[in-house]
Symmetry: C2
Subunit: 279 residues, 2 copies
Amino acid sequence: MDIFGATTLVRIRHPKRSPFMSLAPSEFRQQVRSGRLSGPTAGYCGDFAQANLAILPRQSADDFLRFCTLNPKACPLLAIGEPGDWRVPALGADLDVRNDVPAFYIYRHGERTEEVRSLNELWRDDLVVFAIGCSFSFEEMLKREGIALRHLEQERNVPMYRTSEANVRAGVFGGHRVVSMRPMKAADAIRAIQITSRFPSVHGAPVHLGDPSLIGIRDLSRPDFGDAVDIHSDELPVFWACGVTPQAAIESARLPFAIAHKPGHMLITDIPNTRLAIL
Amino acid sequence: MDIFGATTLVRIRHPKRSPFMSLAPSEFRQQVRSGRLSGPTAGYCGDFAQANLAILPRQSADDFLRFCTLNPKACPLLAIGEPGDWRVPALGADLDVRNDVPAFYIYRHGERTEEVRSLNELWRDDLVVFAIGCSFSFEEMLKREGIALRHLEQERNVPMYRTSEANVRAGVFGGHRVVSMRPMKAADAIRAIQITSRFPSVHGAPVHLGDPSLIGIRDLSRPDFGDAVDIHSDELPVFWACGVTPQAAIESARLPFAIAHKPGHMLITDIPNTRLAIL
């Protein structure tokens, strides 16, 4: 089993009729903190960046930082906390990472042992928070330009695949790159490359397009994580480095203790997606 | 027959041992003007933009300008001359367009009637010079990043194809978009999209990649202009709008009188390729 439970990702449901739709990120986090909101975060606070989380003991943090730095397409860092600090002011002044995420997964020696809604009882003075950019940000930018995203049209999770492309190893962290796939017409793929190139902190430009076998993917209809989506005959599969990559690296490292968000249940930050554009 | 003679494009030979290799553009133009240089210009003055030329009577110039403006991918304008003026200071202070191009084709009523090395005898007070960006500029930028260009490796002209994509019509000018094709691995194609996006005045980003039949190309091994090139199994064909498009539009318009450069025999300008970057 995938220790990060990505095979059991919840269905994305856009909260079209939710009373929480118009909340600011700090208000949304307050709702989560008080226990009034506990589901997946897709579709909430669409103008603001959501973050993948990896929370590791300091002993592993240096290697993990090096891993992220050496694999920036898959592991673009939005912020790093101070050791022991559950505040990450760069992501939100009032943020309490222990309680502002709808659900966490706890891993011990490479096995997922618990799912919790608060880290109050588990927090340690040696834990370091890593916040990693999420494709929700660039998907917002694609949607604004009218580029259709099949997994959203089909109300599925984006399909993700393990590839044959080895990550650059750093200490115990290695493994292979995971990619997400979005089918597009060629003109949309070209425009999507332009748009996402402006957002390196949320995976940036695609890493591949066209023939999936060239990066070790045998069957697009059988993703390793998420759900398969339809691909039309006039479309190309377009592949982006995926935030599941660091999770797979942590999985293979079999750390004694590690924490991540429950997939789809992200940390909503105060960072406007537009501010992530490098130009 | 194609009135612009693109089917008879000369072979590209890079002038590796030419004594003219290190010339500045103004020196190169002086060599052309004095008759010491008359061949194709590929490979000369590689840091500077070369231009496609269309020289039309004022009566057709307004429509042609509108055509270029409405079809900017295929017809990116580097400069327009004043009616009757053979100087184009925007492209070079000392430039004499009548004599600084190695060879011209003359068209009368849609037929190519002459090839000349000077326009001194043919110049008219109503002629308007249009200088249109050339892919040589973005190819320089691709080469600098180590992206191999198959037609250069194979010492051929780039393959060009008529597509099923109609140009936006302006007066007598219409026709269909012509594209050039360069085969690339996916990662190079993505990088090439990023690089060429910075250079809209020399055709900018590709207009298509992947399945050629989607833009009306039946057989990549049979280009309409230029030469076929090898495509490897791990490569995608990547298609850019091509400077032959305005020539095809002029061809179909059957103007009583028009002038163009002989394909491959370009006007070398004083504009550094790097200055064409929009960012």
